[in-house]
């Protein structure tokens, strides 16, 4: 059930991340077209591209965690036996959850502090337009991924 829900969410986040790449491309190209085509440099393209990249970074980090694509060095896993590997996997899962919770808590605290601020150059709320809001979403997603893996782990399905 959880796995199916996470797969659906992963698909949606993947699609959203691809869309954000398109937003970055369009924003940067619009700047060039406006400058040379219409002799009118835009003020919105840089902050939109930067904000889209911040969103993209956090969305993609969460998706990458589910597909185990985040860079890691696992040579020690080959040195310890199967039992040692299970211990290492459990430790890694717990540390991942701790990081996800810490970063979400930090984002929540920052959202409280900056809730009335606007993005420079745009009439948009800074907490969501920048990454503070998406940090919460991606942190929560990673915690769910860890729970899914822990359930599999205790069911004897280690990676």
């Amino acid at each position: 059930m959880l796995s199916r829900a996470l797969s659906g969410l992963e698909w949606a986040l993947n699609f959203f991340a691809a869309l954000l790449v398109a937003v970055i491309l369009v924003s940067v190209c619009a700047q060039v077209v406006m400058r040379y085509g219409f002799n009118n440099a835009t003020t919105w393209s840089d902050p939109i591209a930067s904000a889209a990249m911040a969103w993209l970074t956090f969305v993609a980090m969460a998706v990458a965690e589910r597909s185990d694509s985040n860079m890691s060095v696992r040579f020690t896993w080959n040195w310890v036996g199967p039992r040692g590997r299970k211990v290492l996997e459990l430790v890694v899962l717990l540390l991942t959850a701790i990081f996800a919770i810490a970063v979400s808590a930090s984002a929540w605290e920052l959202m409280e502090v900056t809730k009335t601020a606007l993005v420079e150059g745009l009439p948009i709320d800074i907490t969501w337009a920048q990454m503070y809001g998406i940090t919460l979403v991606s942190g929560a997603f990673i915690v769910l991924v860890v729970i899914e893996r822990l359930l599999k782990f205790f069911a004897g399905d280690a990676r």
């Binding site: 691809a18 190209c29 970063v103 920048q130």
Partner: protein, 427 residues
């Protein structure tokens, strides 16, 4: 004391197998705790500070360009062009491999992407021509380390951001050292092919074939020229040049598929999705490394390092730095390592008056050698898998190429002209 403890914990977390992003983030959280910081909002704020610089937007755009060109079938065209030029001498496929990798470096700027793209074509072809699989894999892995040295380069963008240096100067500075490395690897490959009678002489040089292959490869070959000329000529910023190149690659992929009667949208969507994940994996490291850098700066570790190494001259300092970075490169991927080295070493580099553009090239070349060396050896993993051999066999075959890379690193380190000549022309 705090900085040292944080670094030791960071290394231990990596050795545990924790993804680099979480290892970096948790070490930074520990550092914040040890520094007695009141509020942990620093964690999110500094991550955002690390991400929001507009020049970094070039990274997803360069990745998008490479992914779109790859789905557009550019690898095949580049490999054919490289082989058409030098298919008439013994060891030709090895040189063709190095040449194709060098040409591909002008498009991608990402070592693993290049290794996979070129290797999946060249390794089976070389094996078919009588080269040992381990040698074919070694040539591919070694040749592709030039990807992030020749422009465009994601590592140079990261370094330019972290060290506050002109990215276009860094791009220009990488050209001669990158080409020099390619020449070193090609010469070594030919020497070994002749000595051990690897491969066969497949065909003579045919101008008609070479011209036809050149025309097929032309859409890809113009990309680095457009990027460099556009920025140097003041038409684009680096980020805009990446945007223009990505838009061009998008058009290329769509037109090419339509001309072949295929629907391009599935491939294009896949390229966008792959770019998103690649970007996330790299950029989140940039963000959390900014937090770790903040912690290390407040712990005074870089200053302690400067004090520790005071009294050494520029040459000795460069030697020590190269040794430290080579060791770091054994364990870390180049992207986070660039940021980590900037945080730790820049004060030391500045204190002995080393040119920061030159240092950027040294750093990138050094860390790229690390992708060939165990225990991480990311490129060797890829080529060993494609060649169907064990990692151990691949590493042994790579040893002469690693040695050649270290010799080249020494030359690049102690002849700054190699890095600074081209930027000086456009200064």
């Amino acid at each position: 004391m705090i900085g040292g403890t944080v670094l030791i914990v960071f290394i231990l977390l990596i050795l545990l197998g924790l993804p680099l992003v979480f290892a970096t983030g948790l070490s930074a959280v520990l550092g914040l705790f040890m520094l007695g910081v009141d509020s942990y909002i620093v964690l999110t704020m500094e991550t955002y500070e690390g991400l929001k610089a507009f020049p970094l937007v070039a990274i997803p755009l360069f990745l998008l360009m490479a992914n779109l060109m790859t789905v557009g079938g550019v690898t095949n065209a580049l490999v054919n062009f490289a082989n058409s030029l030098i298919g008439h001498v013994r060891g030709s496929m090895a040189i063709g491999n190095v040449t194709a990798s060098t040409l591909f470096a002008g498009i991608s700027g990402s070592c693993l992407a290049d290794t996979t793209a070129v290797g999946s074509m060249m390794i089976p072809a070389m094996v078919k021509e009588g080269y040992p699989p381990a040698f074919a894999g070694a040539v591919t892995a070694a040749a592709n380390i030039v990807g992030p040295i020749i422009p465009p380069s994601i590592l140079m963008v990261l370094y330019g951001f972290a060290a506050e240096q002109s990215i276009i100067k860094l791009f220009l500075a990488g050209i001669i050292p990158g080409l020099m490395l390619s020449v070193f690897f090609a010469a070594l490959a030919v020497y070994m092919s002749r000595k051990y009678k690897y491969g066969s002489v497949s065909h003579g040089f045919e101008l008609k074939v070479a011209v036809s292959a050149f025309v097929s490869a032309l859409p890809a070959l113009v990309i680095p020229a457009v990027i460099v000329a556009g920025v140097v000529g003041g038409v684009f910023t680096v980020t805009e040049s990446a945007g223009a190149a990505a838009a061009y690659a998008l058009l290329y992929a769509i037109v090419r598929d339509l001309m072949r009667g295929r629907q391009p949208w599935r491939d294009v969507y896949r390229a966008f999705m792959r770019t998103a994940i690649d970007t996330g994996v790299i950029m989140i490291l940039v963000g959390v490394t900014a937090v770790l850098t903040w912690v290390l700066a407040r712990s005074q570790l870089p200053q302690q390092l400067v004090a520790l190494l005071q009294g050494y001259n520029q040459w000795e300092t460069l030697l020590l730095i190269n040794i430290v970075v080579l060791i770091l490169g054994l364990f870390l991927e180049p992207a986070p390592a660039v940021l980590m080295c900037c945080a730790l070493l820049l004060p030391l580099v500045k204190s002995v008056g080393i040119d920061l553009v030159h240092f950027g090239v040294i750093l990138v070349v050094n860390l790229q050698i690390g992708v060939l060396t165990p225990p991480v050896a990311a490129s060797a993993f890829v080529t060993a898998r494609i060649a169907g051999i064990t990692l151990e066999k691949q590493i042994v075959a790579l040893l002469p190429f690693i040695a050649a890379g270290i010799v080249a690193l020494g030359i690049i380190t102690y002849i700054p002209w190699l890095s600074l000549a081209i930027p000086a022309i456009f200064d």
